[in-house]
Each structure stands twice: as structure tokens, then as C-alpha cells.
């Protein structure tokens, strides 16, 4: 393959490098040697192994690449289709960090498992827990719950609720 960097005239407008330490935009050329060489004005800024290069999220028509061994935000942006194709051909693991069909399948599977577990808990777990807990609730607490519900219903319906006659314990015993 051609190891020489793409012609300067094209590359200067088509390949940009951000080193992840500053927002400076480097117009670079890339050289396809045994590793990827990122060169600005004859000075090598970075050398990336093809196996470590991954695709980062970028706009349509731009290949935005990152490197596992570089700074997390270091980015190489290739806006020329031919150069991008050349790089893609060399990076076998480019798409590994992207969420593919397997990723979506896992989300669907786990969501369904979670939904089924919630349904089972509601159908079987809650009645079981209620049966076990109901005898343990003291009568005083049940009475309080009743009082609260009573007040709310009275407040909601105003005078339309007939007074329910019932036994009342002296308040001191509550």
C-alpha cells in the first residue's frame, strides 16, 4: 500500500487533529506506516496503533476517530471520503465501541426480565408479604390509618358523608 501521506493540498483541508489537552485545531496530514502517524508541518504530533483506533460519534460524512491509548478526548477528524476509507480498511476494531444489534438485544432482554420480575413480585410477592405482615400490625396503627382515611374522605365529600357511629377508644390509649 501507499505509505506516503496524502497530498498536502487535500489533507490540509480534510484532516484535523485535536490533541485533547487544548482546543487548538491542528490541520494535519496522516501517514499510513505500520502505525498511524499524525503530522503537522513535518512534526509528528501522535502515533496511533491501528488496533487501538475506535470510531467516536461524529457528523454524517466525517470519520471521527479516537485512540484507546491516547487522551480520552483526543480526536482525529477526517472529512475526505477517500482518506477515511483508507483508514477504515486498516482499523479492524474501529466499530467495537459502538452499540450494535447485540447491544440493543441485551437492552430488550434485560428490560423484559425486569418487567417479568416486577409482575411476579406484584402477583405473588406482595400478597405473600401482606399475609405474613397483617397479623403483626398493632391495632393502634390500624386505627390511625382508619382515622386518616376517615378525615380525608370527610374533607373530600364535605357534609355529604353520614357520620359513621363507631366505638372510640379514649385518646390517651392511642
Amino acid at each position: 500500500m501507499n505509505d506516503a501521506p496524502a497530498s498536502d493540498g487535500v489533507a490540509a483541508r480534510a484532516v484535523f487533529y485535536f490533541d485533547g489537552t487544548s482546543s487548538r485545531r491542528h490541520a494535519v496530514t496522516i501517514g499510513f506506516a505500520d502505525r498511524l502517524e499524525i503530522v503537522e508541518d513535518g512534526e509528528t504530533l501522535a502515533v496511533w496503533s491501528y488496533a487501538d483506533i475506535r470510531r467516536a460519534d461524529g457528523p454524517t460524512g466525517t470519520l471521527r476517530a479516537t485512540c484507546l491509548t491516547a487522551l480520552p478526548l483526543a480526536r482525529l477528524e477526517i472529512r475526505d471520503r477517500a482518506i477515511a476509507t483508507d483508514l477504515i480498511a486498516r482499523c479492524a476494531r474501529l466499530e467495537e465501541s459502538a452499540r450494535g444489534h447485540r447491544g440493543v438485544g441485551a437492552i430488550v432482554g434485560w428490560s423484559l426480565a425486569a418487567a417479568i420480575s416486577i409482575v411476579l413480585v406484584v402477583l405473588y410477592g406482595v400478597p405473600l408479604a401482606a399475609d405474613r405482615l397483617a397479623p403483626l400490625v398493632p391495632q393502634a396503627l390500624e386505627r390511625r390509618l382508619g382515622d386518616v382515611a376517615d378525615r380525608q374522605i370527610r374533607a373530600l365529600f364535605g357534609g355529604k358523608v353520614a357520620t359513621i357511629r363507631r366505638a372510640r377508644l379514649p385518646s390517651s390509649s392511642l
Binding site: 484535523f16 485533547g20 487544548s22 482546543s23 487548538r24 457528523p59 437492552i107 430488550v108 390511625r144 380525608q152
Partner: protein
């Protein structure tokens, strides 16, 4: 002929940098349609990944001074944020339930403190969610980030909220200005500190007449989308024009009427979908009636006699399917018009002055977690505000 002579003479102040949106509408439509179906299959869990995909699309197709932004968040982070928020809120609800047993005895419906707490927590969540999104926003290999305290922000928001109640919303411009000042002075791009220069008085001058129209627009329906659309446009323009990062200054020229059409399109789709839902239920019910062998009138009489259509299981299934499809379709429509289209219009109204101040900014700032994203928020572009 000298090429240079046809170019405009160079002026000392540089031309403003442009912000552009290049996202393909069809691609976005496919993204949200597929996302809505996956949300249905996963009983809603897919929304974390869909929100992530939507942001990736919007961010990566928004170019500032020729360089596209990048959203580096993950759906998994949003899921974890949701679970942590759940772990905080469930004990709060339980504790409140138990405390309520005592409080309600004193006075029925004394749940005001719970609502106040939820409002406070909601404001805290807004701040933390903004911090999460900002730290996942990358431009030219440098991330945005935020300092400040979510609780300090929430306390300010609650106090301003009380003033809002007392002044019937008239104080809104000053509330927004104060809260934006807090958010922006704790926002950074690398080592470039943000600030907010929008004045409450400016916002008030541009929008006071909309405040006057707010009450009539509740009564006179067709007025509401005009008033709300104009209000949102005024708010966006004022907000964007107040943003600063060091020497970088944003300016928006969004016209008053820029967003009104979007709201009308959503209303139109809503009506269309509702009509389709009614037609579908009518058709489904007639089919059910014809297959049951009972005459049409008798069938509906039976349903009417059983008080509720829900008593018939096939009828219930028909209505559920129809309603779910309606809700999903409406979600797709809202995401297309009120997220994507609104984003495109707002972004393309924006120019940036002094962008050269951001040409060599040193990277700085740590990632923040997604706790604030865990709370359910309404589906508006406001959630997607980042800067």
C-alpha cells in the same frame, strides 16, 4: 482582474462565527420511530438509550465555527442515575407516608411539605442533570463542565418560586436571569469561565405583553399556541444572547414568530392521530360486535349495561392497543417538531462573536454522574439545553 478587489474590505472586528445544524430529518425520524417501538417492547427502559441517541444526533450535527460538537454520554449512565434517584425517592416517600400518619391526624391533607420537598429535589435534579449533560459535551477535544452546588441552586430556585406565586409570574424574567447567572458562572469550557449577561428588565420589556395575553389565551383556545410560541422565541433569543464564555459572546436573532408554526403542526398531528384513534376504536368495536353474533345494537347495549367498556376483555385489548399506538405516535411527532425542528431553528439563529478566544483553551474539568437525569422530566427542549 485582481481577485482581492471583489472581496469586502477587512474590518478590525472579525465576522461572527456561524452555528449550523446539518442533521438529516429523515434520519432523525427513523431514529425516534425505531426508538418509540423499542420503548414499547422494553416497557419504557429504552428511553435512556433513545435519549442518548437523540443527543448524539443533535450534538454531532451542530457545527460551531465549522467544527461539530460531540455528545459522549452513555445510556447506561442514565439508567444508573435513574436507579440512584429511585433509591433516594422511595425511602423519602415511605418516610413521608409514616410521618403523614401523625400529621394527617392533626389536619387532613397536610401533604404540602412533601410537594415542597419534591419541588426542591426537582430543582436540584435540574442542576445536576445540566451538569451531567455539560460534562458529556465535547467540542474540539475539550469538554464543558460545571462547578457549584445543586442544593444551593435548588434553594435559590425555591425562593424565586415563592416570589413567582406572590407576583403571579410577573417576576419570571428576573427569576430566570438570577438562576441563569448562577448556572453560567459555574459553567466552563476548558479553563474558560462562563457568565450570563442577560438582564431581567430586557426580558420583561420584550415579553410583558405576552404576560398580559396569558389569561385570555387560556380561555380563547386558538390564542394559546401563538402566545406560547412567541414567549418561547423571546425567551430563547434573550437567553442565548446573554451567554458568555470568557471573551466569546453569543447572539441570537430568532424572530418572534419562528416557533409558532411548530406548535400548530404538533396540534394538527395531535388532532389527526386522535381522529385515527377514534376511527380505529369504532371499527374495532363494530368488528367485535359482528363476530360475537349479537346484533350491533344489542352488543353496545350490553356494554352500556355493564357500566364500562372495560368489562369486555377483547374491547379492552382493542382500546389498549389503540391508545398505546396513539401515545407512541404522539411522542414521535413531539420529538420531531419540538426537539429536532426547534433545535434546528434556534441553532441557525445563533451567531458567535469573539470565537478566537476559544481557539486555544486548555482542557479542564471532571465528569459528573447522571443522578439528576434520573427524575422524569417533561419532553421539552429545555432539558436539552447545555450551554
Amino acid at each position: 482582474m485582481n481577485q482581492m478587489s471583489s472581496m469586502p474590505p477587512s474590518r478590525p472586528p472579525a465576522l461572527p462565527a456561524l452555528v449550523s445544524f446539518s442533521g438529516d430529518r429523515g434520519e432523525f425520524r427513523r431514529l425516534v420511530t425505531r426508538g418509540a417501538l423499542l420503548e414499547l417492547i422494553t416497557v419504557g427502559f429504552y428511553r435512556f438509550w433513545l435519549a442518548t441517541d437523540i443527543r448524539r444526533h443533535l450534538w454531532s450535527h451542530t457545527a460551531i465555527d465549522g467544527d461539530a460538537a460531540e455528545y459522549s454520554g452513555r445510556g447506561k449512565e442514565l439508567l444508573i442515575g435513574f436507579l440512584v434517584a429511585l433509591a433516594i425517592l422511595v425511602p423519602v416517600y415511605l418516610a413521608y407516608f409514616l410521618a403523614g400518619l401523625e400529621a394527617e391526624r392533626v389536619k387532613a391533607f397536610a401533604s404540602f411539605p412533601l410537594l415542597a420537598f419534591l419541588y426542591l429535589f426537582g430543582q436540584f435534579a435540574i442542576y445536576r442533570a445540566r451538569r451531567y449533560r455539560l460534562t458529556r459535551t465535547v467540542w474540539r477535544g475539550v469538554r464543558f463542565w460545571m462547578s457549584g452546588s445543586g442544593w444551593a441552586y435548588a434553594a435559590r430556585a425555591v425562593l424565586w418560586g415563592l416570589l413567582m406565586l406572590l407576583t403571579l409570574g410577573l417576576i419570571l424574567p428576573w427569576r430566570e436571569a438570577a438562576l441563569e447567572r448562577y448556572k453560567m458562572r459555574h459553567s466552563y469550557y476548558g479553563d474558560l469561565q462562563g457568565s450570563f449577561e442577560g438582564r431581567g428588565w430586557e426580558f420583561f420589556k420584550r415579553g410583558w405583553w405576552l404576560w398580559l395575553l396569558a389569561i385570555p389565551s387560556i380561555v380563547v383556545f386558538p390564542l394559546a399556541p401563538f402566545v406560547y410560541g412567541a414567549f418561547k422565541a423571546v425567551e430563547w433569543r434573550w437567553w442565548l444572547s446573554g451567554i458568555r464564555f470568557g471573551g466569546v459572546r453569543l447572539e441570537s436573532k430568532l424572530p418572534h414568530g419562528a416557533l409558532i408554526g411548530l406548535y400548530w403542526k404538533v396540534i394538527g398531528w395531535n388532532l389527526l392521530l386522535a381522529a385515527a384513534l377514534v376511527a380505529y376504536i369504532g371499527l374495532g368495536m363494530s368488528l367485535l360486535a359482528s363476530t360475537s353474533g349479537i346484533p350491533f345494537n344489542e352488543y353496545f347495549k350490553q356494554i352500556a349495561l355493564s357500566q364500562s367498556i372495560m368489562a369486555s376483555i377483547p374491547g379492552f385489548a382493542v382500546i389498549s392497543v389503540g391508545y398505546l399506538a396513539f401515545a407512541l405516535a404522539l411522542n414521535v411527532v413531539m420529538r420531531i417538531y419540538l426537539l429536532r425542528d426547534m433545535w434546528a431553528r434556534v441553532v441557525s439563529s445563533t451567531a458567535i462573536h469573539g470565537i478566537e478566544a476559544a481557539a486555544n483553551v486548555a482542557a479542564k474539568g471532571e465528569l459528573a454522574n447522571a443522578l439528576g437525569e434520573g427524575l422524569p422530566t417533561d419532553l421539552t427542549l429545555r432539558d436539552f439545553r447545555v450551554a
